[in-house]
């Protein structure tokens, strides 16, 4: 978030390692991007440290993240039941399915993994496919950097274990709103984890009894979370070009490229176009 922070003093302050000023400058930089470049003067005038939220990592953030995510996590639980059923059908024990949900915590890749499951287990195919499906998380994690740069490595790398699509989306929503809750991801991730693991166990126990999750609309929850998030992330005209690029590239890539590469390709293409357009 370099020199775009505006007030000339902020760079000097950073050089002295003045943390509060550093944070305040960042918040302005983030905010200005959010607002487009329409109101520079006004932004500069609110550049004081005092009225800028700091990014903190505390119990309150964990709690807020947890409770905000519970309704969504309930839906994720519906999907977890489906995963448990599939894992059961693939021949995994309840304990093995639960272990997978507790340690991997990435729904789509787990479902694909148990679909690939066979006897003997195609270890390389499964691990490589899981990696490819989840590579999008690198991009999602990188998008957290403007806020997470204020956290310690332990806080960052601990929280990221709990990152899944749904709670990443809710976390971005909270962070872009300027609440400065660095622990939101952890709290929301714990909510997802609890419901995901519990639902996996229920599904694996229930086996074939529970039917198709599409009957209850659970399969639509992820899309619904993302539609809601899109509504909030829309920043007007400055969003138009990157979003059109992401849309076009992801739709075409989904047709042409197997797996979930389209997410990565769509996101990267938009970022590249923005880098090229920068300063024009």
């Amino acid at each position: 978030m370099g020199g775009e922070t505006g007030p000339a003093g902020s760079d000097g302050a950073r050089a002295r390692g003045d943390d509060a000023s550093d944070r305040a400058g960042d918040a302005v930089a983030i905010d200005r991007r959010t607002a487009g470049n329409s109101s520079d003067g006004e932004r500069d005038s609110v550049g004081d440290e005092s009225d800028r939220p700091r990014v903190t990592f505390d119990r309150e953030g964990i709690r807020t993240g947890f409770y905000t995510t519970v309704p969504v996590a309930l839906g994720v639980g519906g999907y977890g039941i489906a995963f448990g059923v599939l894992a059961n059908q693939a021949g995994l024990s309840v304990a093995e399915a639960a272990l997978m949900s507790a340690t991997v915590l990435a729904g789509a890749s787990q479902i694909v993994a148990v679909e690939l499951w066979a006897d003997p287990i195609p270890v390389a195919a499964i691990v490589v496919t899981v990696f490819a499906i989840n590579l999008r998380y690198s991009l999602m994690g990188a998008a957290l950097q403007p806020w997470f740069r204020h956290l310690s490595p332990k806080e960052i790398y601990g929280s990221l274990f709990f990152m899944a699509d749904e709670n990443w989306a809710l976390t971005m929503r909270d962070l872009t709103a300027g609440n400065g809750r660095g622990a939101f991801l952890l709290g929301s991730g714990i909510a997802i984890w609890v419901f995901w693991v519990a639902a996996t166990i229920v599904g694996a126990l229930a086996g074939g009894i529970v039917g198709d999750p599409t009957r209850y609309g659970f399969d639509f929850i992820l899309a619904a979370v993302f539609v809601a998030l899109a509504a909030e992330l829309w920043e007007g005209r400055s969003s138009l070009a990157p979003w059109v690029v992401a849309l076009g590239v992801s739709v075409v890539a989904a047709e042409l490229v197997p797996g979930r590469w389209y997410i990565l390709l769509g996101g990267l293409a938009a970022a590249v176009v923005e880098v090229i357009r920068y300063g024009e």
Binding site: G3, V72, S109, V130, Y137, L160, Y216, A223, A228, A230
Partner: protein
């Protein structure tokens, strides 16, 4: 799965190979989760690159959504519209989700 052990045992079974594969999956997944932010934390980024990074949240959301909705049908499109409408009117994500899921179930029955 040739000779089935007693039910309680099979439920709790943890075969070493299965556990190994699961842990390998967990490891590569964790690496994807931390990889991106590790990179941007350890590489000095130009303003230009940071501008690119700043469009990522919206772009990723669109890239997740667009193919999913394109693969869906009128029921999913209608429900997505319901979510947008409720978000716009109430700004409550919970209401929007409930309306969206109810909408998709309803539209799938109707359409």
């Amino acid at each position: 799965m040739a000779s089935e052990p007693p039910l309680q045992w099979s439920m709790l079974a943890l075969e070493p190979l299965v556990v190994g594969v699961v842990l390998a999956m967990a490891l590569v997944t964790y690496l994807t989760k931390i990889g991106g932010i590790w990179l941007v934390r350890h590489v000095e980024l130009s303003e230009r690159l940071e501008a690119g990074l700043s469009v990522l949240p919206g772009a990723i959301v669109v890239a997740v959504l667009a193919p999913e909705l394109a693969a869906g049908g009128p029921a999913e499109w209608g429900a997505a519209g319901v979510v947008l409408l409720v978000m716009w009117r109430t700004e409550s994500i919970l209401l929007a989700l409930v309306a969206g899921v109810a909408g998709v179930v309803l539209f799938r029955t109707l359409l």
